[in-house]
Amino acid sequence: MEIRALVSAMWRSRTGPILVAAQVAITLAVVVNIAYLIQQRLETAAKPTGIDIDNVFWVRLEAIDPDYNYEAALRADLEYLNDLPGVIAATSSNGTPQTFYSLGLPFAPSADQLDKGGGQGARVFMADEHYLDALGLELIAGRNFESSVFVPPAQDVPSGIAAWAPEVIITRYMADKLFPDGNAVGKPLYVGLVNRSSTVVGVVKLLQGAPMPIEQFALMNVLVPIIPPGPNPFYIVRTEPGRRDATMARVEQELADRVPGRFMSQIEALEKTAAQARFSFRSSATILSVIGVFVLAVTLVGITGLAAFNVTTRTRQLGTRRAIGARKFHILRYFIVENWIITSVGALVGCALALAAGIKLSTTYALPRLPLYFLVAGVVAIWILGLLAVVVPARRAASISPATATRMV
């Protein structure tokens, strides 16, 4: 077919095509970058946690009696919780993973490195021998804590941390980072700020502290066998599948009153906690997808509108072409090709815009650069969109009867 004739015809009334191409360009730039941001956010929200989130809940109690015996109450509570039917394990800690609360310290494989490089920051979770079971973490090397190593509760968090403990369990991510030669178990780990060292006794496969886009902030985690400072206990409990809600109800009923001088301030399924931590990612992904759909819809309407207008103004010309031998297929092809050229020009400009916007985004959000397959997918999507938009007007054009030409002269 005569592409040259088609292009030169288009050039003679270029305003419409230019408008459509400009629209397509901006749409492509916006949609591709939005899609990338959505993908990043959903990916962050969906990353595995290593935790048996569905079957875990946590409880916070507040002591109000100045004579409250924290340590005795803690032992009694843990015994009660661990003996409850349906409970796999219960532990006490300073807080739960899947929140943005954090207690961070610098760590390094040698004292020297700690002094020179400052060490690598990691989140600290106080734990006991039930911690791994209470969260459903998988130990892949070494062993669990033994009950003899536990450091008794200190007066406050800084003193508790300062006393530190002779053993730690770390995540595989952290082991790979600090001990790249492999086998972290048995090696010493130096702790900044408190200036201590401990032996790594175990490595867990995965423990995501919080859903964060930067892996280092999410996966660098240390378990340390310190009994959390009092007087307000915090327990994490894991149940057998399906028994979480019943157990929660029972604990809510019974736990606080087992020891006088305190009350329960919060009890929550970890599922809910984790969903809250992901809320901002999910909500911004939703907002962005709504905008994306609207942009695409408006562009679709725009392309259709202009194509329809072209068909109307060219009715006589089309009739004539049909009269002198063009078949329906030729007319259809003419419109589709014309539209394809316009959207492709727009898409080309759009790619440049998308890349420019992508560079800007990657610097503000500290994201990796926009991957090229997003652009390719965007161009394909725009082609499909253009085709969909032009199909109806083009078919109408093709159905113009050759007689129209004679009638209108």
Partner: protein, 455 residues
Amino acid sequence: MLLHDIRLALRSLKRNPILSLLMIVTIGVGIAASMIAMTVYSARAGHPIPWKEDVLFAVTMDTRENEPPPPGMPLRNFEYPPFTLAYQDAVAAYRSDIPRRSVMMYRSGQLVTPERANIKPFHVPVRVTTADFFAMFDVPFRYGGGWSRAADTTAEPVVVISKYLNDKLFGGANSLGREITLGGRQFKIIGVLDAWMPHPRFYDLSGGGFDLPEDAFLPFEWVRAGRIFPQSINCVRRTARVVNFESLFTEECLWLQYWVELPDSAAHARFQQYVDNYVRDQQQRGRMPRPLNNRIVNVSTWLEMNNVVGDDTRMQVMVAVAFLVVCVLNTVGLILAKFLSAAPIAGLRRALGATRLDIVRQHLTEVVIMGLIGGALGLFLSFGGLRLLYALIFARGLESSDNPARLTLAQSFTHMDFPMLLLAVALSVLTGILAGIYPAWRIGRLTPATFLKTQ
């Protein structure tokens, strides 16, 4: 004449109802998206205390190690000094008599144990601060007032409570002189605040900056007397050794917000000098290895440094404006199509004596009317969109709080105020004109003869 133009415009709009509707909806959706994004933006971008812009300053000192930024950290954040001070540095700054007022403070939480047995004990956020806090930030009092600087150093057991706490514990009555139990200790109430919600909570932007002020305010020395631990501490240096509560006061740990009120720019310069000299002196002693980078900044700069508006909000505005541009381009095309298809009518009018200007004006009237209808639709859609946004995002977790200020805070994010309404009207007229100016000019330029011939 205007009436005539309007009548012609309406007739033309009715001639092509589907096309007209399409254009109006396109404009409406574009304006709605922009209005929603800009409303959310303006709710975050406001100045909480504009009348003190020239006298109120946040004080920062660059106490960091001389190290490159950690991987993944945006460089913009790295050039700023930390936003909180170490105790020893805050105390040193507090010794200066250059500022008219100075405040060092931090946020914490305490358990309130009500006298009345029917209220369960509950946690409230607490601010431990020096005396100037209330005068410095123009905090409104319902009853009583703050404490003297002397009360700071002696840890006098006095407290200023929020309106919410007073309502909850005392039914809103004048509670001056009564006692409340905070963290197991008795404090005498010397002040009750009126409703107060700086938006954003500029004096402490930790946690994003859009939270309520604290419910209880205690004299500064209570940090030691009550061992009230700060909510957030950042120990910066490898040399810091945290061994117990006292480490807070001796080690390289940052936890204090610091603000000054300086009467004029000369005082600002002198105080900057004072801080710089102090830091130089510390550098002599081997602390603060980075080059001088102590920023004493006004509220606007402070909000900017803390990125209170947020990258997401800014990006949403950009995307919404890009969307509006797509909508405008779209409408230009559709209007052009429509005008050209009705060109013979314009030609006929020209032939009958209408001037070129008449034609342009008549077509512009049509697009402005369309813009206004689209704008009205857009406004309607943005109210709906904002309500949806409120219900889905901002109203989350409201049911778990009995503090009515939480509701006000939540609503403030999606509240479209009068200037925003004006902006919506301006935007719709502008959109109409932008979309219509080229097509109207095109149609005015056509020579009448061309069209009369084809008739």
